[in-house]
């Protein structure tokens, strides 16, 4: 028996699903969101316990294959040097993200015109600018105005502290004459909208017990629910259903008891991220859409882009108190962000300074690398390293390539029997050169900052946070999946608002841009309500 029909059905309650739900609530339409995970309880986050670093390795691991909860779906990533990391629950991956919140740059939308690679977006920075600002206010973003690498913008809150780590590495950048700037962070540096300020706990990436990190379960969702949006948890969507006219008419999902349900809807909005969304679309085959829904271009699941990550760590004589403060956010550099063909690759990367590990992380990394032995020399070696390490992440732009893709695994299934996604990914020569360049420049920074020992490597395997490009946006239905406002070319009442629709990836954390896009698409839907399906 089908459920009552809703006006809008949103699939996924993460970064983009929350933003689109909140924005569409203006319309007073009946809006329902289905989320396969559940609400989080911040009093149970690892940072409330002494063994937080052990819990980070299992139940709060960033890799769904390690967590292996019933509400996670397994991902076959054997054919990829980078594994997918995510979180399933209200808030999605914003629960565990580092909360880096840079915007894509104006140039990121026009790489074909500027650099002759990939494709231009059908929209630009100026169009998204007001949505970036709206999203910054809704999420609560800390940062410093005046970064010369952006058009003017004003973060609503002052920057999070640099700490000794930030100051030390900043001096290194200054010696080299390179750009750096305090990171835009979705972490509130002051009390904001009923939330208290960051306490510099350190373990942001196990969930924020203080509620200072802006995950959408505590930002958009309370506002959206107050405005009338309904959110059902522990509901896993198997496929989108269509009617005889080829329009989406709802979704089949499994509820918390494992019962199959059919939710009917006038409009379906996909917000399942760059892996989850193509997985559902590819699993929605029918006589009208034998290759998966919205896939007449053949591009659903194709052009998967990560941001391959390298790391550089510097060991310093001084105690940098590096376990204190937001783990991933501090300062970043765009010195090598734009194309310079003399470097031997196209596009570029950003360098993000992060803080050091906690005591357990320091001891384990030290043991594995042979720097902290067991035995009578243990304590001296530990003391030398704990709180004395600063780190840089090299975040490389990945260009779209069709062979990098998501398919359905023929054997692996989730706990409801739905086919799991399989990742096919190879690091391109361009990205490999970029990564190598970044590691060398990162070592230069650490040297200039005074590090007495430097170690580096990459690509880091568990670094597939940014899942982009698998249902890309464009004006031509033959070379894209959705149009310039997120509507499927093939199915006029099907929208996609997550990272799938990115045309290119930029070299930056994408959450800010994903959410600005979701707000823009919601606004476009509102402006076109009278002729939404024309």
């Amino acid at each position: 028996m089908p459920n009552d029909i809703v006006d809008v059905l949103i699939i996924g309650a993460g970064a983009s699903g929350a933003a689109v739900a909140w924005s569409l609530a203006d319309t007073r339409m009946r809006i329902l969101c289905l989320e396969q995970g559940d609400w989080m309880n911040s009093t149970e986050y690892p940072s409330t316990k002494m063994d937080w670093e052990a819990r980070q390795q299992k139940e709060f691991n960033i890799d769904p294959n390690v967590r292996a909860n019933d509400w996670d779906y397994p991902i076959n990533d054997e054919e990829s040097p980078i594994s997918v990391v995510n979180f399933n629950g209200v808030g999605g991956s914003t629960i565990l993200y580092g909360a880096h919140f840079p915007r894509l740059h104006p140039s990121d939308f026009k790489v074909k015109s500027l650099d002759g690679v990939a494709a231009d977006w059908p929209i630009d920075y100026d169009l998204l600018d007001p949505y970036f600002a709206q999203n910054d206010r809704m999420m609560g973003v800390s940062g410093l105005a005046g970064d010369p690498f952006y058009p003017p913008k004003q973060p609503p809150l002052p920057p999070i502290p640099l700490g000794l780590v930030g100051e030390t590495v900043a001096k290194g950048y200054n010696k080299l004459g390179w750009h750096w700037w305090p990171s835009d962070s979705a972490i509130i540096s002051q009390a904001y909208e009923g939330r208290d300020k960051c306490l510099n706990l350190g373990p942001c990436m196990t969930g924020c017990s203080q509620g200072a990190k802006s995950s959408t379960d505590i930002t958009y969702w309370p506002a959206a629910i107050r405005a009338g949006v309904e959110l059902k948890t522990q509901c896993r969507v198997r496929e989108i259903t269509i009617n005889k006219q080829g329009m989406a008419d709802g979704a089949i999902y499994y509820d918390a008891e494992g019962n199959e349900q059919h939710q009917r809807a006038e409009v379906v909005v996909m917000a399942g991220n760059g892996i989850g969304t193509p997985r559902i679309l590819l699993n929605s085959c029918s006589s009208l859409f034998p290759d998966g829904l919205a896939n007449s271009s053949g591009l659903v699941g194709k052009n998967l882009m990560f941001h391959p990550v390298g790391f550089v760590q510097g060991l310093f004589e001084e105690n940098l108190e590096s376990h204190k403060g937001p783990q991933a956010c501090c300062i970043l550099s765009k010195q090598f962000y734009e194309t310079d063909i003399e470097r031997g690759f196209t596009r570029g990367y950003n360098m993000q300074v992060s803080r050091g590990a906690g005591p357990v992380g320091t001891a384990l990394q030290g043991f594995v690398s042979g720097k902290i032995p067991w035995g009578s020399k243990h304590h001296a070696a530990f003391k030398e390293r704990f709180d004395h390490v600063a780190a840089l992440a090299i975040l490389c732009e990945d260009l779209p390539e069709e062979h990098n893709c998501v398919t359905l695994d023929p054997k692996l299934v989730d706990s409801d029997g739905i086919p799991a996604p399989k990742i096919h990914y190879k690091l391109s020569e361009n990205t490999a050169k970029m990564l190598k360049h970044g590691l060398s420049r990162g070592e230069e920074v650490m040297q200039a900052a005074g590090a007495r020992e430097i170690f580096s490597g990459g690509p880091v395997r568990p670094a597939g946070w940014h899942l982009l490009g698998t249902a890309r946006m464009g004006n031509d239905p033959q070379s894209s999946v959705v149009n310039n406002w997120g509507r499927s070319h093939d199915v006029k009442n099907l929208f996609i608002v997550d990272g799938s629709i990115f045309v290119t990836a930029g070299g930056l954390n994408p959450t800010s841009t994903i959410q600005a896009l979701a707000l823009y698409i919601a606004d476009s839907m509102k402006k076109n309500l009278a002729n939404l399906f024309d």
């Binding site: 063994d51 920075y125 410093l144 690498f149 004459g177 017990s209 403060g325 594995v368 304590h379 003391k383």
Partner: protein, 153 residues
């Protein structure tokens, strides 16, 4: 007749003899410091930690303990280190896994954290104080020639 201390139960998977060997092994891996600031790993509660976080490593630990001579715990640190060094070569896999768990258990202990200068308790609600940092360090960046790449219409 078996003494109660020698019984192996779910919550006490080592008998008395292996308990003694365990103390010796832990004290070898992380001994106390002479000034008493850092405690020995023998004084932390390893077994409950393993049962909660790494039950799969318990059989490996027992395997290693069974390799040790009855007199092991009463040897000097230097002599024990020599034996454990040999063990790390003959049983590299189990030794690495067990040592990682010992390190992890040790440094999540409040007494060890105090010893390395951390404040007591889990990160929340304690929190940390972090210097805001000197934003005048940005002066050369602002004065420099940096600019975002313009997009022509």
């Amino acid at each position: 007749m078996t003494k109660e201390d020698d019984l192996i139960t779910t919550d006490k998977p080592l008998g008395k003899a292996l308990e003694k060997q365990l103390r010796g092994l832990l004290d070898t891996l992380i001994p106390a410091t002479e000034d008493g600031v850092m405690l020995s790993a023998a004084d932390i509660d390893l077994m409950p930690y393993l049962q909660l976080h790494s039950a799969e490593s318990i059989p490996m630990l027992i395997q290693l303990l069974n390799e040790l001579d009855d007199q092991f715990a009463s040897l000097t640190q230097t002599a024990r280190e020599s034996i454990v060094e040999q063990m790390s070569i003959t049983h590299p896999g189990p030794f690495k896994i067990v040592t990682l768990q010992v390190f992890a258990c040790y440094y999540q202990d409040e007494r060890a954290q105090r010893g390395i200068g951390m404040d007591a308790g889990p990160p929340f609600p304690r929190g940390n104080s972090v210097e805001p940092g000197d934003l005048s360090l940005l002066d050369p960046v602002i004065a420099g020639r940096h600019s975002y790449r313009k997009v022509e219409d």
